[in-house]
Amino acid sequence: MSYWYKPERLMRLPQFDYHAPGNLVDALNWLRDNEHLNVRILAGGTDLLVDIRGKAIPDGHRPRCQEHRSGAWHARSSPPAEIDYMLALSHIPELRTISHDGNRLLIGSMTTIAELEDSADIRTKLSALSDGAAQLGSPLVRNRGTFGGNLCNARPAADTAIPTLALSGKLVLVSAHGERTVEHDDFVIGPGESVIKPDEILKEVIFDLPDNPSASAYIKLANRKALEISVVGAAASLTFERNDSSPGSTEIAGFGKVINARIALGAVAPKPLLIPDAGKALIGGELTDETILESARIASEKARPITDHRGSAEYRRMMVEVLVKRALTKCRERMLKQPVAEVQS
């Protein structure tokens, strides 16, 4: 057993000091002035306060979920994190807003997952994000966990990240030196790793709302309905040509050919994965059973899943096809249910 393994060290969180600035500028200046310290940014804490605890799976212990597998199992134990300061964002109200700016919807990073789930604007305009929020963790996790925390934690299965990628959300990163905007696809580099710098804070995420009729959906496959990380997740976001053709046409009233399509997958690669070819297969045609199946097949081919305790690579690949099909079908359902007048607004 390594030196740090003492039960009493695992009982409590590691030591740190705490600072909670009242506005964003103060927070950024504080980060700049304290560059030499080991600082963690605290949002809802539902990832961070779990991660910084030491983990003690004693050497030689093989968890039950690994018993039937062959090959080596490496006990995952880690000492508590060493932290000088927690910089809490909880006292910065400007980060906890959902607002419109012309054709854009801006969501502040401290917006809780429950607030995403409850927002009527997000449900109708960014349905996939609403789907993702409603399925994240449990009500207790959603009440404290934030949108920014879910994105910055940069996990490949993050339930609001896959929809954000499909919906082309742009992340606004700010520091005392300025501001930059990053596409979600360029934001995450690998499991738990993103391009955010230690002196930067994720301020908000910007979604451009298309003028044309559009729909999106996110489907999560997990072993249970709550408290579960997805085995596979799939998000689809579609924009259609406006179509006012007469009744009797094969096209669905109010919308016609697909002009933009993005398919994103979770838990099948080291980071949330955009499958451009699966989107391209839909563009230029109507959304039919055939195009849906073709797109789902391409997504399944391009996924790069691994085998772990949540599922095998083969199973995940098969499920990608099913989930993309369901996500696209859900988009079609949503288009049909939407009153035409609303689609045109």
Partner: protein, 158 residues
Amino acid sequence: MKKIVTLNVNGLDYETALEPRRTLAEALRYDLGLTGTKIGCKIGDCGACTVLIDGVPSSSCLVLAIEAEGHEIMTIEGVADGNKLHPLQEAFVEVGAIQCGFCTPGMVLTALALLKDNSDPTDAQIRRALSGNLCRCTGYQKIVEAVREAAKRMLRTC
């Protein structure tokens, strides 16, 4: 270094000196002596440490006590009216929704928040609301029944 923090719990202000790393669950139990809040997993999985923060069910093991300053905290100790149990608590006892009791404070507080928002929830809504609170004894059926029963009684009394 310890900081002086004022926590408003069940309507009372408690001033106490805390290390910033102190979780709300630890502060409630070890500093304020309110041991009704249970500590189970310490990583947000079990819901035993559920308290209401400004009426919202939260895992107090994943909230720093210092972050709870300025908010209204309600623990299981604040649910009954003196010696008179809340209808929810009565229903839990009568229906048999309690065995070992470890999950009960969290269950009751989560259900209390649900009934405040939705006085006549469906079984599906009750199950969804309670989905972050784990019980390893009763198998949930009785707990759902207790919440349904309490909702009925509370509707009748008002």
